[in-house]
């Protein structure tokens, strides 16, 4: 009987081995472990055994059954995994087929750059304020130390809407409004649209954008101005960018400087972009003119400040190497999609 058990077990194991799918393995289970299965049948023959042999044999049969059951289960898992694998394989797709498009728009490149700038200056503690685009002569010129007969008015061709009302030629006008409504310490930037009567061409537009910065406090110096502009330049152009002051003239600052940074294209060695000089002019700045402070009711003996004005359009066209400023206002979708 032992022999018989052995040979059934062996046959059963072999049968499991060659199964190729779940129904075959089920057949094997029924054949050996089912109610009428061969191993079940052996148990039934145990009536002919002596009482001493019966439990021993019983244990052997049960062990054989358990072993086979385990084998069958294991095989079943293997086959199931194989079936899943085959199914997944059959479901393989061409991943290079086009995506189901999620349309995503973009900010206008001017505002992409502006947002970066706002972030930089916000992190330095500058509030962001607005000012009107239609200004009075008073705010746009008089308060900025440009009286009516001042030759500096020649520097800026102004659009007039009425005798005393004009489209602001610079965001500096917002400096005055800020100083009138806030008390020092003041630390603001004012981004905005400005207007000058420049004929439209590849590098000129009658509508352009500036970011005006203003700091007024006790003991503010030109070194502070340089520090702020260095930090700004490092964020925009990279941390090894150098900043250089060149003396210049603006009616509303004294001393006034043009600010150059090392050319980001060549790192200051000189190239076509910087016309060989290694430097690129990026903005005008200076210490707020005492007359300007005075006209806003701030005592220039007690307070000092600095201001700077950055041309956003120029910054945008140089960052993205846009050759024609008119593209910014044409709004071709293929252009807008690039930024």
């Amino acid at each position: 009987m032992k022999e018989q058990l052995k040979s059934i077990s062996l046959a059963a194991k072999q049968a499991v081995e060659i199964c190729e799918n779940e129904s075959e393995i089920e057949n094997v289970r029924v054949k050996y472990l089912g109610k009428k299965g061969e191993l079940t049948a052996i148990l039934k023959q145990m009536g002919g055994l002596s009482p001493e042999e019966r439990p021993i044999m019983g244990q052997l049969v049960n062990e054989a059954k358990a072993e086979l059951e385990e084998l069958i289960n294991a095989k079943r898992e293997v086959l199931k995994a194989k079936a899943t694998e085959e199914k997944l394989k059959a479901e393989t797709i061409d991943i290079t087929m086009p995506a189901k498009e999620v349309k995503v728009g973009k900010l206008h490149p001017l505002n992409t750059v502006l947002d970066d700038m706002i972030n930089i200056f916000q992190s330095m503690g500058f509030d962001v304020v607005d000012g009107p685009e239609v200004e009075t002569d008073h705010y746009n010129f008089e308060c900025l130390n440009v009286p009516a007969d001042h030759p500096a008015r020649d520097m800026q061709d102004t659009f007039y809407l009425a005798e005393n009302l004009l489209l602001r030629t610079q965001t500096s006008a917002a400096q005055i409004r800020t100083m009138e409504t806030r008390k020092p310490p003041i630390r603001v930037i004012c981004p905005g649209r400005v207007f000058r009567a420049d004929e439209v061409d590849a590098t000129h537009s009658p509508v352009f954008h500036q970011i005006e910065g203003l700091v007024v406090d006790k003991g503010v110096t030109m070194c502070d101005l340089k520090g702020v502009l260095e930090q700004f330049a490092h964020e925009i152009y990279g941390s090894d960018t150098k900043v250089k002051f060149r003396p210049s003239f603006f009616p509303f600052t004294e001393p006034s400087v043009e600010v150059d940074v090392t050319c980001s294209e060549c790192g200051g060695k000189g190239c076509r972009v910087c016309k060989g000089s290694g430097w690129i002019e990026i903005l005008g700045a200076g210490m707020v003119h005492p007359n300007v402070l005075k006209s806003c009711g701030i005592d220039p003996e007690e307070y000092s400040g600095f201001a700077f004005g950055i041309g956003l359009d120029r910054l945008t066209t140089t960052r993205y190497k846009i050759s024609d400023i008119r593209l910014l206002f044409e709004n071709d979708k293929r252009f807008l999609d690039q930024f």
Partner: protein, 796 residues
């Protein structure tokens, strides 16, 4: 201002190369626009002696010359010229040379014989007899025997000058002249500056016997100096003067005119020369023009004057437009005998207004507009007389008539060196400060830390310590300034709430596939007409620019739609198949017209979409999303904008305030923009939308009990809007209504004429219990009742 380097060297020692000079001047506040080297177009042409000449075997006119250019070996050059002999000195263009005519000469062969250059004629070097004697000869230019072989031809011709174009800032009119720039160079280089000292002899007599001068308006003419020169000897001015004038962009004419121009370039003070013999009554009257008076200027044009214009008149009529241009009648001509010479200061804004009104701008008027120094007026006059004397251009009459109301005292500025340095943040030794200020002619003296400067009138741009700080730093060097970090409390800057809200809307629209655009704030005056608005529509109350760049950019916009339509048209015409665009800008609303005060500038947004998958409802979806994140509850009403399709447009109310109009663009309007496809636009009053306070968010518990879904299918009159059906359902369902959804709408076969079939799903849910059958039946009945009230016929 363009200045010849040679001219500058007359006033100041320049001991550095021109490039270094320019770099240092830039760092002192004088931007250099360009440096032109004279003779830059004449390269590698040298003086050569003909050592040998042999005929060319294959040619009857070519000759083979061996040229001595001062090197060990001779250079072989083949020439066709016949006017040469051994021993002649000639200009030889060597290999890789450039000639002023543009030719580039390189080694080559002529009929098989090597020629390493070219012998040049005067014509090939663009020379005339004035430049070099013999230059007009037909053939090779034979040079004088005095030049060493190998000398660069630029040196032979004296072409070693540089012309530097300095950009003079508006605060430094005193530097619009040779003397002004030379003074600065002296300070920058630390070299000696020499101011010319006018000296001359008169022929005696008394100017008062010749002329009387009366200034009637000292406000417009604070100083007027006149001189008389008799017996003019008019001829060309000397070479050095012609060169200096030409370098600065003026044309030499004759000695008298050139002297007045030269003195203007040298001192910055414009001069005017009158033909004395043409002055009626021998009188000069500086007065306002009489209304309607006329003058013919030097250029032959006639102008009619107004009373606010200043003229220099003789006893009868205007003879000169003060500070702007002389009159034709008193012009200096070759046969002019006697001269009245004017040097004056005129008020800047008056010159400017007159110049603008008449449309004239001259070298002189530009200088008067920027401002001339009242003290310098007399110096310039003296300097002109010195040149007249030295060039023997005429006989100077003794005496000068100087009309003025007193000359200004030097301005005294007192401050301390500490107060100056406070602005800069850099330590500069007191001694250095005083030395710089004195070199700049600001007469500084120091007493302890107290600094006093006596500022002459020529530097009236200097008003206080800030100006002194700039003067010190531009000479001491801005590279001494070292950046310092911001001090004070560490805070993050704040954004205005409107900017924060706007940024959210922009982000939303970007994620919905919309691109932000930017367009000009001004539009064509007629653009508004394309919207077919009523005559009385307030959007027609546009603000006009008085001096626009042209009609296209003449009118401040009261709406953004016309700009949006232009952008849609641009994209459609470029065959871009679809697009969603938005713009956030301002609409300019005048409080009254004509404009007397600043207009309202109201934040506005426009949206424009087109393409196969776009329609009224995709735009409605965008608007709803914008309103939702702005915290607004929206309602829609039919609207009647003439530029939109009459049946496909809506007014949006947010919290009962009108905030937007949107819809399909009227085909007539679209075709005005050459748009032949359906486009949809919205114009949103962002100012109103951003003004809506968003309710504070608090968490609502998620539902614990199941919802019940019921469907309602009905027939209604075709014209009943589904909005009314929704109102009926929600009011019937009351607080148990969680959500309703339109799932079918149909008109056509099997539906009676004039009716439509509409079906809604309604979800009912209670927050605190599972709904009982009775509760559900009650709500059902209420919904049905409400629906029947609007004429709906429920389908079973």
């Amino acid at each position: 201002m363009k200045i010849s380097l040679k001219a500058l060297k007359y006033y100041v020692d320049i001991n550095v190369p021109v490039e270094e000079l320019c770099d240092r001047m830039v760092m002192a506040g004088f931007e250099v626009e360009s440096i032109e080297k004279e003779g830059d177009n004449l390269v590698n042409v040298v003086v050569a002696r003909i050592a040998d000449i042999k005929p060319h075997e294959d040619s009857d006119h070519l000759q083979i010359c061996q040229m001595d250019i001062g090197k060990d070996e001779l250079v072989q050059i083949v020439t066709g010229a016949q006017n040469i002999k051994v021993g002649d000195l000639v200009p030889a263009a060597l290999n890789d040379s450039y000639l002023p005519c543009g030719a580039h000469i390189v080694n080559g062969k002529l009929r098989g014989v090597v020629s390493n250059g070219m012998l040049c004629s005067g014509e090939e070097l663009c020379l005339t007899e004035n430049d070099y004697e013999g230059a007009s000869v037909n053939g090779i230019l034979i040079l004088k025997d005095t030049h060493p072989v190998g000398t660069d031809m630029r040196e032979v011709l004296g072409l070693d000058d540089y012309i530097i174009d300095f950009k003079i800032t508006a605060n430094r009119p005193d530097c619009n002249c040779f003397i002004g720039v030379a003074k600065e160079i002296g300070v920058v280089l630390g070299t000696e500056f020499k101011m010319p000292k006018p000296e001359y002899k008169t022929v005696g007599e008394n100017i008062n016997d010749y002329i009387s001068i009366e200034v009637q308006n000292y406000d417009l003419c604070p100083r007027y100096v006149g001189r008389i020169i008799k017996n003019l000897r008019i001829k060309p001015s000397p070479d050095w003067m012609q060169k200096a004038i030409t370098a600065s962009g003026m044309r030499p004419i004759n000695n008298i005119v050139d002297i007045t121009n030269f003195v203007m370039l040298e001192t910055g003070q414009p001069m005017h020369a009158f033909n004395y013999n043409d002055l009626a009554n021998k009188q000069i009257i500086v007065r306002n023009a009489k209304a309607g008076e006329t003058i013919t200027t030097l250029d032959g044009k006639d102008y009619t004057l107004t009373e606010d214009m200043l003229v220099i008149a003789d006893g009868e009529k205007p003879s000169c437009l003060a500070g702007i241009m002389g009159g034709k009648e008193s012009e200096i001509e070759d046969d002019t005998k006697d001269l009245f010479l004017e040097s004056a200061k005129f008020r800047r804004d008056n010159i400017r207004h007159t110049g603008r009104a008449l449309g004239i701008r001259t070298e002189a008027s530009g200088r008067f507009e920027r401002g001339v120094d009242i003290v310098n007026v007399e110096y310039a006059s003296e300097r002109a007389l010195q040149l007249i004397y030295e060039l023997d251009a005429g006989d100077i009459i003794e005496g000068s008539i100087d009309c003025n109301c007193g000359l200004p005292e030097d301005k005294i500025i007192t401050t301390t060196t500490n107060k100056i340095l406070e602005l800069i943040g850099v330590e500069v030794p007191d001694k250095t400060i005083v030395s710089i200020l004195n070199r700049l002619g600001l007469n500084a003296s120091l007493n302890g830390k107290d600094l006093t400067c006596r500022v002459p009138s020529i530097r009236d741009d200097i008003e206080g310590r800030a100006d002194l700080a700039e003067e010190i730093m531009r000479i001491y060097g801005y590279d001494h300034i070292v950046g310092t970090a911001m001090r004070g409390d560490v805070v993050r800057g704040k954004l205005l709430p409107e900017r924060i809200k706007t940024n959210k809307i922009k982000k939303l629209l970007n994620s919905c596939g919309a691109y932000e655009i930017a367009t000009y704030s001004f539009i064509a005056s007629k653009a508004i007409d394309t919207l077919l608005l009523d005559e009385a529509d307030e959007r027609r109350n546009q603000i006009k620019i008085i001096n626009p760049l042209g009609d296209e950019y003449s009118t401040m916009r009261t709406q953004l739609t016309t700009s949006m339509l232009t952008v849609l048209a641009t994209n459609i015409n470029k065959k871009i198949e679809d697009g969603r665009f938005f713009e956030i800008s301002k609409r300019f609303i005048a409080k009254s017209l004509p404009l007397t005060e600043q207009p309202d500038e109201l934040a506005t947004m426009s949206i424009g979409i087109y393409g196969e998958n776009e329609d009224f409802f995709t735009l409605k979806g965008l608007i709803e999303a914008i309103c939702k994140i702005s915290g607004a509850h929206t309602m829609y009403e039919r609207s009647s904008e003439p530029y939109l399709h009459p049946g496909r447009q809506a007014l949006v109310k947010a919290n009962n305030k009108p905030v937007a109009v949107f819809g399909e663009v009227h085909p007539t309007v679209a075709s005005a923009y050459d748009i032949d496809t359906k486009v949809y636009v919205a114009e949103i009053k962002l100012d109103v939308l951003l003004g809506i306070e968003k309710r504070k968010t608090t968490y609502k518990p998620l539902p614990k009990f199941p919802a019940v879904e019921r469907d309602f299918a009905m027939l209604v009159n075709a014209e009943v809007p589904v909005g009314d059906i929704e109102k009926a359902i929600t009011s019937g369902a009351g607080r148990l209504c969680e959500k309703i959804k339109l799932f079918d709408i149909y008109q056509g076969a099997q539906i009676p004429e004039g009716k439509k079939s509409v079906a809604y799903s309604v979800w009912l849910r209670s927050a605190d219990s599972t709904l009982t059958d009775k509760e559900i039946d009650d709500v059902n009945a209420k919904i049905i009742k409400k629906l029947e009230q609007i004429g709906a016929e429920l389908r079973k």
